[in-house]
């Protein structure tokens, strides 16, 4: 029983992480068929035409990003997989790498070929140490099979691949912060321009792609751009793995075509809410994007539809918030996350996340003031667009979204000095020694 049309088609094949099983299913055939037979530029064109967009959160057209690498540059090029998956609500890359590491390897070799790279790195978040061991084992198998090294698949193409383990920093999911960390600095983002495609790792042309994005590449090259476009919409082509969490009956990863109804995903695929709870709000793309109220449940899961509703598809981390959960409490949780993960480089994010967390704490604990709501809105607004990188925006937008759709809950906290509902508090209170 296949769990999805593309990446999840064979994801549960037993032993897929072993190279023999992978090859039995057709793995690495595309690699052999492409290297030196299709030119690097042609590969880029196919990926461009396929409409594949970055699956990590930014949604930037992948082929276009690859084409930014200057052809004439004499400097070495690097292909880097962003496997830092730290966006709250997102756990797709973890399952993909755990079960099908060879698809990632094949994708990276092809991406490396397309941009003229002979050295690639997979940057894994530190907590994914066991994933690193799985991927390293697969790399070892690929090397032994001559698919990595000085003569990939006998074509003379050189490509080396290494994993690199982070150590606990969400900010390292931002591509320039990732490169800082990979270069051996504190993981703080860097000025853009210059963009990594021109000056990235060690000031050389570098492409940073998300795990899921890279894993789509072999399929696209094998089957062509039109094949990829059979799913999704005009501007949001292909499929996406959505991670659904929260009190639904069947949380987990689901691969669906882009444009799929979020309502269907939650109510059908995930079996709806657990007994006694109803949907109050949904965060569609990881905690960095504004939430949608239950009324917008039936929004198509694609980039444009989400933008039209004032939010983003983001990483596809769908967090379902129930009607017994306090929105203010939930946003306090999210704001604390950004405060902890702020790298500290720029003033608005460093100080603003701290400030918002403090205000939320007061509001949640019944010490809110009437001015607090306007204050939160103002602080969020002062962060948005003023911070050094998108983490600031990621901290501000959820607050703005919550204020827009659930102003009444905030006001309630001020007038009543308590939450209207708060399942979490009640559950904690029940814990006895």
């Amino acid at each position: 029983m296949s769990r999805g049309p593309l990446l999840f088609k064979d994801i549960d094949t037993p032993g897929l992480a072993a190279i023999d099983t992978y090859r039995k299913g057709g793995g690495y055939e595309t690699l052999a068929a492409t290297l030196n037979k299709t030119s690097a530029d042609q590969v880029i064109e196919v990926v461009k035409a396929s409409g594949l967009r970055g699956r990590g959160g930014a949604g930037f057209p992948t082929g276009m990003k690859w084409s930014f690498v200057p052809k004439a540059s004499p400097k070495p090029r690097y292909i880097v997989c962003n496997a830092d998956e730290s966006e709250p609500g997102t756990f797709k890359d973890r399952e993909l790498m755990e079960k099908n590491p060879h698809l990632l390897i094949e994708g990276m070799i092809l991406a490396g070929y397309a941009i003229g790279s002979s050295l690639g790195y997979i940057y894994l978040r530190g907590e994914f140490e066991y994933i690193q061991r799985i991927v390293d084992k697969a790399i070892g198998e690929a090397r032994a099979a001559g698919l990595l090294g000085d003569n990939v698949a006998g074509t003379g193409y050189k490509f080396q691949l290494h994993t690199h383990l982070g150590a606990g920093a969400y900010i390292c999911g931002e591509e320039t912060a990732l490169l800082s960390s990979l270069e051996g600095y504190r993981g703080q983002p860097r000025l853009k321009p210059p963009f990594p495609a021109v000056e990235g790792l060690y000031a050389c042309p570098t492409v940073v792609n998300n795990t899921e994005t890279l894993m789509c590449v072999p399929h696209i090259i094998k089957n062509g751009a039109a094949w990829h476009r059979q799913w999704g919409t005009e501007k949001s082509a292909g499929t996406k793995v959505f991670s659904v969490s929260g009190p639904v009956k069947r949380p987990g990863n689901y691969e669906v075509p882009l444009g799929y109804s979020m309502k269907q995903l939650i109510e059908q695929d995930c079996g709806g809410m657990v007994e006694g709870l109803k949907v109050k709000a949904v965060i569609p793309g990881g905690s960095s994007v504004p939430l949608l109220p239950a009324a917008d449940l039936d929004t198509p899961l694609d980039y444009e539809s989400m933008n039209a509703k004032g939010t983003f598809l983001g990483s596809g981390g769908v967090i379902v918030i129930d009607d017994q959960t306090c929105i203010v409490d939930a946003l306090w949780n999210v704001t604390r996350f950004y405060e902890h993960e702020s790298c500290g480089k720029c003033t608005p994010c460093r100080e603003g996340t701290y400030w918002m967390a403090e205000v939320f704490e007061r509001l949640e604990n019944g010490h809110g003031k009437a001015t607090d709501i306007e204050l939160l809105a103002s602080v969020a607004d002062n962060i948005l667009g003023k911070s050094f990188c998108a983490l600031g925006d990621a901290a501000a937008m959820p607050v703005q979204g919550a204020l827009k759709h659930f102003l009444d809950e905030f006001e309630y906290h001020v007038t009543h000095k308590s939450c209207r509902v708060n399942r979490r508090r009640a559950e904690v209170a029940e814990v006895r020694a």
Binding site: R186, L191, S342, C343, K345, P348, R350, G352, S378
Partner: protein, 896 residues
């Protein structure tokens, strides 16, 4: 016009060079855009966000040409988000708005954020009154804050004796960390943790083991880092702040002294002025407290009887003049000699030698009392290519290739070192250091090349470098006569020397020479390691030859910089405080030159005089009977202490200008108390050859006066009709009379100094006498004594600064851990060093930069000259644990 770009800031259009940052373009348009994390010496960061502005560029039509709007101007497409001006480069036609609602709201928002966790410490914070956060909050922020929560806090800590850190105040602009990395090359500070808990500290919060320069304090825009020596002493508005030239080293940095009443309370950099701008080293920043010392001399002293007694000025002047007149009459003018003076201003040096040569008629004038082997001043001028456009510190930072010969710049010329570090970090500069010790710039982290010369083999190494350079042919731009001289040089270089002799492989030498030759922008630096070497005059000649061979001197320019012992050593050369030179680089032996000076001086001795070492020998032999020593503790500074003792013993008249009652002053017959550098006006010449104004910051200590006034009073008492009312009067005469100074005046020297217009020193490429062979027999039982200047211990004056003395600690001898272990010694053990003239005992410190077979002792405070003067290529000393019997064959211990 190519290279220029038009930008409009708040409606004002300016033209700026392409590549200018928006913040700098705004400054050009006289629009104030606030900054914190941005700094002129650091690459753009864009972290603090206070400089956010609205930026727009001309809309381009489908034909890629600007779309013209209804008002006839290009339509501007404004970027959707505000941009940081400090990271945005201007483009032609760019518009910037800093005062719109959007820009103002963004900036006020950032300012409010900066104050979220910043404590309201102003009443107890040293930065108050000169705090950029205060100033910019006032100018650009709200007059209220809505932040009403508890602030995050840290513990404050002392990061050593110099830097106080109050982390609560930190706005994480990262200037301190980046400056310490990129300009100082120390990497002493780091940011640790992250987010709002980011805290600046040292490694594991240990006391900072760095140069203690305090530049981190200087660049900190708030009171997070403050200087402990100045803590709680004053408010900036209590202080009068005067910019003058630092008294310590020949780099000639500008210091902004903060004076309250009669006391110097602190020194700061000058932000945009001088060669150094905001930079100062530990001496320049914290080393001026000696000026306030209570034991400054305040009354002239005269030894009419058995002991020095206070006397009035008139009595002292009259007595000194009378004695001088007597000695000149009885024994001839040549029985009088003048020593010292490298620490004086140019005007004082001029009058000193005018008194000597013109009034008294003696040719014996030499400021360079530290030299064991007298280097003719003319030779030094030639070796530095004097009279040609010189190497500036900016050019040094910009150089592609730098060769440092035998100097540890950290102790000798800290600002030059910082210029090299920044060049390396930011501009791709490559440095080659020839030194027996692995000094700071030779450390791996600066990715340079270290020529680990064997102690004593300095001259052979220079000859090998010359050979390697000449093997590449004669450089372009060499005049014909120099070309033939260089050709003729080759046979005199001797047979190729193996690595065993110089300590450096031929391939390494050849590569160093090639790099220098091939570099378009280069620099050749040397200093006291050469000038105070036992073979100094041969070395200086060899360096002149090398400089021409490397293309570091040409007809058009000079890329050679020499660092003398004191801040005005270059001035001493130009003012003729040398036996072979008259002021302006004219030869004392040249009749035409003498004729030029006869009018202003009255008369002139007919021949050159003796150098310092020979003056002392003549005094010891009774031929020189009167010594005038200007601001020089000869007993400490001269290489042969025993000789000084004899000279002072023998002389019937010793006159001393001094700040303190030094050992030397205590032996004088007349002591004139003189003003400190900060207490007088004047001008100085730095190692670039830049002439700078030195300004009075406070009144002279009562009873003291500038040296030039002392010289004038004695000259007048001797009958000279000198009528200088101010130092400027003296300078006017210099400008009239001394070649190279014509057209200069005090006014032309502001704000960044002026340049001499001397004639280029004629080249004298000539063979160097071969060095005597090294004495290998002594090698096994003795150690080479390596000495040098260090940051905290630099001459006897540094011991009178509380801060510097505390940082220096007591004098110590340094051995490498391996060498100490071989000798069975541990850190802290007392070791005895024995030389031909005496012995000294010092505690031992371990230092892995010291080579095997050598011991390093910093110049100051250890009384090294008790060991005797060097013979051969250096001084070999016996070394053993104090109290143990001597090893057989070691240099015999001589009684102190």
């Amino acid at each position: 016009m190519s290279g220029l770009v038009r930008v409009t800031v708040d409606g004002r259009t300016v033209e700026v060079p392409a590549g200018t940052l928006v913040t700098d373009a705004a400054r050009a348009a006289e629009v104030h855009v606030p900054i914190f994390c941005s700094h002129q010496k650091l690459p753009p960061l864009g972290a603090c966000r206070i400089c956010v502005v609205e930026v727009g560029t001309p809309k381009l039509g489908p034909d890629r040409k600007p779309v013209i709007g209804p008002d006839g101007n290009p339509e501007i497409a404004w970027m959707p988000k505000v941009q940081t001006g400090c990271t945005t480069t201007v483009s032609d036609g760019m518009h910037v708005r800093t005062r719109t609602e959007v820009a103002t709201a963004a900036r006020k928002g950032v300012m409010e954020f900066l104050l979220v966790n910043h404590p309201l410490d102003c009443p107890v914070c040293d930065e108050g009154g000169e705090c950029q956060l205060q100033d910019l909050a006032f100018a650009f922020g709200h007059d209220y804050s809505r932040m009403d929560e508890a602030k995050r806090t840290f513990d404050s800590e002392d990061l050593g004796p110099i830097v106080k850190k109050e982390a609560n105040r930190c706005i994480v602009c990262m200037r301190c960390v980046r400056y310490c990395d990129e300009v100082m090359g120390e990497n002493a500070l780091t940011a640790h943790q992250r987010g709002v808990f980011t805290e600046i500290s040292s490694f594991d919060r240990q006391p900072l083991a760095c140069e203690q320069c305090g530049n981190c304090v200087e660049v900190c825009p708030v009171g997070a880092l403050t200087a402990l020596p100045y803590r709680f002493k004053a408010r900036p508005w209590d202080l009068r702040q005067h910019i003058t030239i630092c008294e310590w080293c020949p780099n000639g940095c500008s210091v902004r002294l903060g004076v309250r009443g009669m006391e110097i309370l602190r020194a700061r950099g000058t932000e945009f002025r001088g060669v150094n701008q905001e930079y100062l080293c530990v001496r320049g920043r914290f080393g001026h407290d000696w000026v306030n010392a209570p034991d400054r001399l305040t009354a002239p002293l005269v030894k009419t009887g058995a002991a020095l007694e206070p006397a009035t000025r008139d009595v002292a002047v009259a007595w000194a003049a009378a004695r001088l007149r007597d000695i000149a009459a009885t024994h001839g003018p040549e029985a009088i000699a003048f020593l010292g003076g490298e620490k004086l201003n140019l005007e004082e040096m001029y009058l000193m030698q005018k008194l000597a040569r013109g009034v008294l008629g003696t040719p014996h004038v030499d400021a360079r009392t530290r030299q064991g082997d007298a280097v003719p001043a003319a030779a030094l001028r030639r070796a530095t290519g004097a009279g040609r456009p010189p190497l500036t510190f900016d050019a040094l930072t910009d150089a592609q290739e730098v060769l440092v010969l035998f100097d540890d710049l950290q102790g000798e010329a800290p600002f030059a070192q910082a210029a090299i570090v920044r060049g390396f970090r930011q501009r791709g500069l490559h440095v080659t250091v020839a030194h027996a010790r692995r000094v700071k710039l030779a450390r791996p982290r600066f990715k340079g090349d270290w020529l680990a010369v064997k102690p004593g083999a300095e001259l052979p190494l220079v000859l090998e470098l010359t050979r390697a350079a000449l093997a590449l042919g004669i450089p372009d731009g060499v005049p014909a006569e120099v070309r033939s001289a260089l050709e003729a040089l080759k046979p005199s270089l001797g047979a190729e020397r193996a690595e065993a002799e110089t300590g450096v492989a031929q391939a390494t030498i050849a590569a160093a020479a090639r790099r220098m030759r091939e570099a378009g922008r280069k620099a050749l630096l040397f200093g006291r390691g050469v000038l105070e070497h036992p073979h100094a005059s041969a070395l200086v000649q060899a360096i002149e030859n090398l400089a021409w061979s490397l293309g570091a001197i040409s007809a058009e320019r000079s890329d050679v910089m020499a660092f003398g012992a004191h801040h005005d050593s270059a001035g001493a050369i130009e003012m003729g405080l040398a036996p072979d030179l008259l002021p302006g680089g004219l030869a004392a032996g040249d009749a035409a030159a003498r004729a030029a000076y006869e009018k202003p001086f009255g008369r002139l001795p007919q021949s050159p005089g003796l150098a310092a070492r020979d003056i002392l020998a003549a005094a010891a032999a009774g031929k020189v009977r009167a010594l005038w020593i200007a601001s020089d503790d000869l007993l400490a500074s001269a290489p042969d202490r025993a000789l000084v003792e004899q000279a002072l013993e023998r002389c019937e008249l010793v006159i001393v200008n001094e700040l303190f009652l030094t050992r030397t002053a205590a032996r004088a017959h007349v002591v004139f108390p003189v003003a400190a550098f900060a207490e007088k006006d004047g001008s100085t010449l730095n190692s670039e050859g830049r002439l700078q104004r030195s300004n009075r910051a406070l009144s002279p200590r009562p009873g003291s006066r500038p040296d030039w006034e002392v010289f004038q009073e004695v000259a007048r008492a001797l009958g000279a009709d000198w009528r200088y009312r101010t130092a400027e009067d003296v300078f006017r005469e210099i400008a009239r009379v001394v070649p190279g100074f014509n057209g200069l005046s005090y006014a032309t020297l502001l704000p960044n100094g002026g340049w001499l217009s001397s004639a280029p020193a004629a080249a004298n490429v000539a063979p160097v006498a071969p060095a005597p062979a090294a004495d290998d027999a002594a090698a096994k039982t003795t150690h080479w004594l390596l000495a040098g200047g260090t940051l905290f211990a630099d001459g006897s004056l540094s011991q009178r600064s509380d801060t510097l003395a505390k940082l220096a600690g007591s004098p110590r001898a340094r051995l490498s851990p391996a060498e100490a272990s071989r000798l069975g010694l541990a850190a802290g053990d007392r070791v005895e060093l024995t030389g031909p003239a005496g012995a000294i005992t010092l505690p031992l410190e371990l230092d892995d930069s010291v080579p095997a077979g050598a011991v390093f002792v910093p110049y100051a405070g250890a009384e090294l000259n008790r060991l005797g003067a060097a013979t051969g290529a250096g001084l070999r000393v016996g070394l053993r644990r104090a109290g143990q019997p001597a090893q057989p064959g070691a240099a015999a211990a001589v009684e102190r």
